[in-house]
Assembly symmetry: C2
């Protein structure tokens, strides 16, 4: 294994702190509390962990208003790809293209900037296999909903046949939100899925009631997502897990045949992230491809959290080698920019202005996305993520032997640094996260009782060593 100190990427952050440093007795500390107090007059601060001082954050370390510096394994809910104050990104901000993107914000559909083809082509260099086009959005939820729109239009196009003519009845009923112009169509998603919190994306989301309560929803179905035994490569688990896959695939087919609204698309995360880091096997993901092809249904992979390298491949679903490739792949978070990739020209609507809005994405964020992608390639960061992840996973397995009850269902082997495990209870999980933070490690949870690791791609073995030492200490204190 390569020594972390010789990593090509190490040069990025020569001034990174040697280790975390917590100078307050409580988190949030007094200065953060005073910031939160004034912020709370205008903003809902209840979800705040702490108020960050981004100017003093660097690389894998995030600083707060009190001068605490944490080793960051959460990275803005999995959204910082290359660490804080990345010099290459700072360089890009000074470019002419960035100035135009920010100061002269273009309505890219009507008045595309000369740079747009370049921005799009750079993004497409990182597109998953089989995807040749991109459509831009503004957030993960927006990307999901625009992909849903593309899916519904495609589904109706195929249903109509090649003439693809709108009937007078469609043209009038749509203005009353009624079929046939506003058809009853559904997206099938999965239990414990998270696809965003707007109304259609929210109808596909099924992880926690708090995301959805009191909001009207489309009556769309949630199939069962396979729930595996870990480790996945244990032969006995393998047999059990494939049975679980077959059970869940059968439910998907049954829902397609029985649901009272036609299913136009299936939407799935290759690893359910917010919902608990539940993995979908290559077998399951290919099974869905077979079902969608057989039933004329659009297949959408949601890579908003799993995409852009943290699993050790640029896109997590590449591990499944789905054949033929899926129809639409959404992205956001670590790419900063959002949108969906697609491969089939028929996903371009038959008329302009059907998939459209004033901004059609954000060129400033597209420029940043392209730079992030190029940095990942230039510095061979996928290799680094795999090395770091493998090392971290082995270390966690050792802690698992030491504290078996506190490392339930350890998952993410051979998936880079995209690692999670379960505590016995939600309370213990929250206690562990608080203890980690006061000891200088910023770590997030997911689902009810899971810990999820989401460091930047710049996380190195030297950082793992610090984290494991602190984790060992914190779990040790809680374990008795």
């Amino acid at each position: 294994m390569k020594d972390a100190t010789t990593s090509t990427f190490n040069k990025y952050y020569p001034n990174e702190p040697a280790e975390p440093r917590v100078v307050t007795d409580t988190i949030p500390g007094p200065k953060t509390q005073s910031h939160l107090e004034s912020l709370s007059r205008v903003f809902d601060t209840r979800p705040s962990y702490f108020v960050a001082d981004y100017d003093h954050s660097l690389g894998n370390y995030i600083a707060d208003a009190d001068g605490n510096t944490y080793l960051d394994l959460y990275a803005q809910i999995s959204s910082i790809a290359l660490g804080y104050n990345n010099p290459k990104l700072i360089e890009v901000i000074g470019s002419k293209e960035m100035k135009n993107a920010l100061v002269n914000r273009p309505a890219m559909g009507n008045f595309p900037p000369m740079e747009l083809a370049h921005h799009s082509n750079v993004l497409l260099k990182f597109a998953p296999k089989g995807q040749t086009r991109v459509w831009n959005a503004l957030s993960g939820a927006d990307a999901i909903e625009l992909a849903m729109k593309a899916a519904f239009m495609y589904f109706m196009r195929i249903k109509r046949g090649e003439s693809n003519y709108f009937t007078p009845d469609e043209l009038s009923s749509v203005m009353d939100n009624k079929p046939p112009g506003s058809p009853d169509l559904a997206v099938l998603s999965f239990k414990r899925a998270f696809h965003g919190r707007l109304f259609a994306s929210g109808s596909a989301t099924c992880s926690k009631p708090i995301h959805k309560l009191d909001l009207p929803a489309f009556r769309w179905p949630h199939a069962e997502f396979p729930f595996y035994e870990y480790p996945l490569d244990d032969p006995e688990n393998k047999t059990k897990n494939q049975k679980e896959d077959d059970r869940c695939l059968k439910i998907v087919e049954e829902l397609i045949n029985s649901w009272d609204i036609p299913i136009a698309a299936i939407l799935i995360e290759p690893i359910q992230s917010e919902g608990g880091d539940n993995h979908a096997s290559p077998y399951f993901l290919q099974g869905l491809r077979d079902i969608t092809l057989k039933n004329g249904i659009v297949y959408i992979i949601d890579e908003v959290q799993t995409g852009v390298g943290a699993t050790g491949k640029f896109w997590c679903h590449e591990y499944a080698n789905i054949d033929p490739p899926v129809d639409l792949v959404t992205f956001s978070k670590k790419f900063q920019s959002a949108g969906y990739f697609f491969h089939d020209e028929r996903f371009i609507p038959n008329k302009p202005y059907r998939q459209f809005n004033t901004w059609c994405g954000d060129p400033a964020r597209m420029l940043i996305a392209g730079t992030i992608g190029e940095e990942i390639m230039k510095h061979n960061l996928l290799l680094q993520v795999n090395e770091t992840g493998d090392y971290m996973f082995k270390e966690l397995e050792m802690l698992q032997s030491k504290y078996p009850k506190f490392f339930g269902r350890l998952r993410g082997k051979n998936r880079g640094t995209f690692i999670a495990w379960d505590l016995p209870t939600s309370e213990l999980r929250d206690e562990l996260l608080a203890k980690l933070r006061i000891n200088g490690c910023n770590v997030g949870g997911c689902s009810d009782k899971s810990v999820r690791l989401r460091p930047s791609l710049t996380f190195e073995i030297k950082h793992v060593k610090i984290f494991i030492r602190i984790l060992d200490k914190c779990v040790g204190e809680l374990y008795n």
Copy 2:
């Protein structure tokens, strides 16, 4: 009237072109066509008017890839407040705050930046009367949908009473997208309204079938929006228009009482923009306030297009002096940043994470929004907009006398530069817009046969003179 050459704002653009300049025989010109050809391999270019060269655009003039320079009265679909390459915005891009916002994109809910209170407070300086808080979004449609979420949660909170307790039945049914957890609730909007193109915002939109076809919709009602006779200050029209207001208010009340889904909110643009620049009178807007109060319904004003100064007030609905103030006001476009203002603490959900997402807005765009607001105030641009608009309206009235058939229903008197009129047919409107463009004026349409003027707030009387001269020529050529 103040002479344009002494305008305080004139100093911003001393190097602005003296007049438009078109050097190609066709628009799009050959270079734009070649750009579009390569762009079309990755992007849907059918809506493109031309490919813009933002680097060579300045102030009120937009350049294209062929070296054409147009006087811009469309401003990126009403989204550029202060002209192109505004020096103050360029300055802000170089700030430390902008670097943090772009390079270290914060998940503002969990890890708010130290600057967030400042950004929010600056935005709130420009909030409409009665609004004391702001929630951030990423686009106009996103702002509308987040405001809808706030409205639904508030409506249910009031319905539940102060205990505001979720029942076990709500907590389980919501996971199946069924009532009572996912209640059937509706937003009442208006015919010809435009509120965005996602699924809930799309259900409220009712301007053109093309925005909505093939997409599932919520079964929400569209009431009639008053259709006035212009000029509004003509005494005979006044009487007719108030009757029209009463007719439409009655329909709103009837829908509230008869619709089979409870109406939780009313959503309206003070001037329907995409739908044809249809004005709502102060009387009508106050009537809706009375109805919403009487029926316990949330009142949302959509200022996405009308907001940020172009009507001569910072927010268009301020003309109506609605009392008490409306509940939620959405913004986007000219503010670059998006979101909604609100005044009542009860619009903060009872629990955290109900109104939430990873990014909770974009601090880079909030910073730009604040700068735009401050520049508007510093340079007294609302006064300038009113002067320029009054001058332009009078000039248009003169053209109306000359070519009455081509200036039908001229609207926007005393509403700054927010001006529109009708051509006899959709074809003639399109022909006029094309002719204006080849003569150096970039102007947009709305609805079927309207022309809408949407210059930046930096548009001056000297620009009006150029525009009117070219318009006179173009209409003259078409009129016979």
